[in-house]
């Protein structure tokens, strides 16, 4: 058994980390949060030039043809540095949908541009204040045109196209919609993490290209969400670890009652709890990475396990990082709240904790049928 990333993958991770540090990714996240831009266009271009967007795309579509383990280590670093770019929407979701479900023509048209980052894709699924299910989706496709409204679509305002879930006849299928085409209206929707933009998308008989077979639409969707969940988990893991490190560093340099606050057992145990959460999440994320990269039958279980544990770790670390900073942690000026916000954004993005916990137990039930 070798449950570790290879030397090359570790080197890639190091390159990604140094690149994002050099480019001041956290500062850029703050600039997007405070400014009017939806994302950091320059950082996005640089990420494209580094080839990160091309990682999992085969060479025949101008990608690098690397595996998913490589994408996992990049995701962790993007999460650690709060990169304010549409990477998750475009790479973990849109690219995956097209790779798995796109026709040759679709792949040829879209994948090279996704690989270079010159095109941005996203996934539009949510319609109201509750998780989308096969029964509650209202968006509808008839004769190749889509109508209806999606809300809280990450990067919906900047994406060039979206993969959209919609009913066709009695089943939910997946469709590709060019967001610059006729019959598409987008409205920016502010969220509690303005370093990542969101929008509502209203379709009024917009042209929709079918992805995969409609009959297997829901199943395909769950499969891609499972794959994406592993990658989201790595971003959450990176954010969690960064929050833990911030807390530790601050505690070491802050004095009260004549001693470093890091010497108080309450603070040491708090940090130890963060560490435990991060280590459990990291180990589960590796399990997810293995399942993703080998397309293992355990994917659904592994993905949900890593998603649940990484969400918990990020929640624990980002809130206790504020607590460790005392009053300073409650200020806009310190970066603690950037992580506190991103934690919620990532937790909301592909469905809430209760949905993933339910998926986890359901997949275990399927795997262990009596």
């Amino acid at each position: 058994m070798n449950f570790e990333f290879s030397a090359d993958q570790i080197q890639l991770k190091d390159i990604a980390r140094k690149f994002l540090e050099k480019e001041d990714s956290v500062k850029r996240a703050r600039a997007v949060l405070e400014g009017k831009d939806s994302y950091d266009e320059e950082l996005w271009k640089l990420i494209g030039e580094m080839g990160f967007t091309a990682t999992s795309i085969p060479e025949e579509y101008d990608g690098l043809g690397l595996g998913y383990l490589e994408l996992c280590v990049i995701a962790e670093e993007l999460g650690r540095s709060l990169a304010p770019t549409p990477f998750s929407s475009s790479v973990y979701l849109a690219t995956e949908f097209l790779l798995k479900l796109g026709s040759n023509e679709v792949k040829q048209n879209y994948l090279p541009k996704l690989a270079s980052g010159s095109s941005i894709g996203t996934f539009a699924h949510t319609e109201k204040n509750t998780a989308p299910t096969e029964l509650n989706i209202i968006c509808e496709v008839k004769d190749g045109s889509i109508s209806g409204t999606k809300i809280a679509v990450p990067d919906g305002d900047i994406a060039d196209f979206a993969v959209v879930s919609a009913k066709e006849g009695s089943v939910v299928g997946l469709f590709l919609v060019d967001l610059n085409s006729d019959g598409v209206e987008r409205v920016n929707q502010p969220t509690l993490d303005p370093s990542r933009s969101h929008a509502s998308l209203t379709f009024n008989n917009a042209t929709a290209i079918t992805l995969g077979s409609a009959k297997e639409g829901w199943e395909n969707l769950q499969y891609i969400l499972d794959r994406a969940a592993v990658l989201f988990s790595f971003e959450q893991l990176g954010g969690a670890e960064a929050s833990m490190n911030m807390a530790k560093e601050y505690a070491m340099g802050r004095f009260a009652f004549g001693r470093s606050i890091a010497s108080f057992q309450a603070i040491k145990h708090k940090l130890a709890d963060m560490y435990i959460a991060v280590e459990l999440a990291r180990s589960n994320c590796y399990y997810g990475a293995w399942a993703l990269s080998t397309d293992a039958p355990e994917l659904a279980t592994a993905a949900a396990t890593s998603r649940v544990s990484a969400s918990q770790a990020f929640n624990e670390c980002s809130k206790e990082n504020i607590q460790t900073h005392g009053g300073m942690g409650f200020t806009w000026e310190f970066d603690c709240h950037l992580y506190y916000r991103r934690c919620r954004q990532l937790a909301a993005n592909i469905g809430s904790q209760s949905i993933w916990k339910d998926k986890l137990i359901s997949s275990l039930e399927r795997a262990n049928q009596l």
Binding site: A131, D193, R259, R344
Partner: protein, 409 residues
């Protein structure tokens, strides 16, 4: 033990309800709380409402009548609290004055000062702030460095305070300073109250994680305070501060924001995995936990009040309220957003939107767990002062104050 009103209590309850009915409107539902469009507007509405309460004898009810109170019993205050919670009325801004400065003035100020300051405090005419924390002295409040020097009968103050809630709209402040840096840490402090418009006081807002700015840095440059505005003896500032802090935990204890009722109502109207969230076992368990916490705090408060009405002073037991309610709020905020799935993070402008309530709670809870004594400090207090467990080894005992490391270094 008895929850039923005695006949006097019933009479009091009826009187309270009828006055409220005539002067305020009943809440239409759990979401129908008072909320102002801006801080200025909120302050204005609070002042108008508080004045009304004062004129009719419902302000600072436990205070002596000569300062605007009605000398009510603790039970009457509970009854008033129960009745007023049914109405949509302005709130906030006055806790530091009425809850903290008031009791300290009552104990340490001269009769003339009480007559001058307590009625405007009760009336909501003058707002107070608490100038305690400093950049290097929060949990370790006694590590504060703001200097006070006495010449003749005037003190000169130099230094900096931080995290001062409401300093930007306050008329008066309570202030702890270091009058003797050569004395032991807890011995060299002196306590004052001062006019926030005194020359040399500069207030600079600090933006907090939510984007709002409710607290401030306050700089003192050669600020003059007459010795008559000293509360307690020179060098006794620590003792006076402890009185203030004990009252603070009583005054600010309960976290405001979505609580059990809001979470319960949300779960009853929200789908989760194809059925109503309230039918989900995990949701029910969480709701049950929060209900028990809320109920425990409510009845703990009744027990404390019963002790008060027997003439006992409130003990550090009241510290549990802030720990439990701050953490409960943080959990409920996350729960509420989670229940709305991906749409939970949308920022809605409408005050009615469920999202905004949970998002305010999300930011607010992080502050409540720190303000007025962090969770960790309150747990130290419970273990050491309530349970009588030994203190941590003190690294700052027996060292001259100016040799103790403090702050960020």
């Amino acid at each position: 033990m008895d929850f039923n009103d005695t006949s006097e209590e019933a009479k009091f309850r009826k009187e309270a309800y009828e006055w409220l009915k005539a002067n305020a409107s009943l809440k239409k539902g759990p979401k129908d709380g008072w909320r102002a469009a801006s801080e200025e507007e909120g302050l204005e509405q609070v002042k108008i409402w508080q004045n009304k309460l004062y004129e009719s004898g419902w302000a600072c009810m436990h205070w002596p009548k000569e300062y605007g109170g009605r000398e009510s019993t603790p039970i009457e205050r509970v009854i008033w609290g129960q009745e007023i919670s049914k109405f949509k009325v302005p709130g906030g801004f006055l806790e530091i004055g009425q809850g903290m400065a008031g009791p300290v003035m009552m104990m340490y100020a001269t009769d003339d000062q009480k007559a001058r300051h307590l009625p405007p405090m009760a009336k909501g005419e003058e707002i107070w702030c608490q100038l305690f924390s400093e950049p290097g002295a929060g949990s370790d409040l006694a590590g504060l460095k703001t200097k006070s020097v006495l010449e003749g009968d005037t003190w000169t103050i130099n230094g900096q305070k931080i995290w001062t809630s409401g300093a930007h709209f306050s008329d008066w402040g309570i202030l702890v300073t270091r009058s003797d840096p050569t004395a032991h840490k807890h011995k060299g402090l002196t306590y004052f109250f001062l006019d926030m418009k005194s020359p040399g006081v500069e207030v600079r807002p600090i933006k907090q994680i939510s984007g709002g700015a409710n607290f401030n840095e306050v700089y003192f440059t050669d600020v003059k305070i007459p010795d008559s505005q000293r509360l307690g003896a020179v060098g006794d500032g620590w003792k006076v501060s402890l009185t203030t802090l004990m009252n603070e935990r009583l005054a600010v204890g309960d976290a405001s924001g979505p609580d059990f009722e809001e979470a319960f109502n949300l779960a009853r109207g929200q789908d989760l995995n194809g059925s109503l969230a309230i039918e989900n076992g995990a949701v029910r368990e969480k709701l049950a936990d929060w209900y028990c916490q809320k109920s425990g705090l409510k009845f703990a408060k009744y027990r404390n009040l019963s002790a008060l009405s027997r003439g006992e002073t409130p003990g550090p037991q009241s510290s549990i309220t802030k720990i439990v309610s701050g953490n409960k709020l943080q959990e409920i905020a996350n729960f509420g957003m989670d229940l709305m799935d991906s749409a939970g993070i949308l920022r809605m402008d409408e005050a009615e939107a469920d999202q905004s309530m949970y998002q305010y709670g999300f930011y607010g809870a992080a502050g409540i767990r720190i303000a007025g004594g962090t969770d960790e400090i309150l747990k130290n207090i419970i273990s050491e002062q309530v349970l009588g467990m030994p203190q941590d080894m003190r690294a700052d005992k027996g060292i001259p104050f100016n040799e103790i490391p403090s702050g960020n270094k």
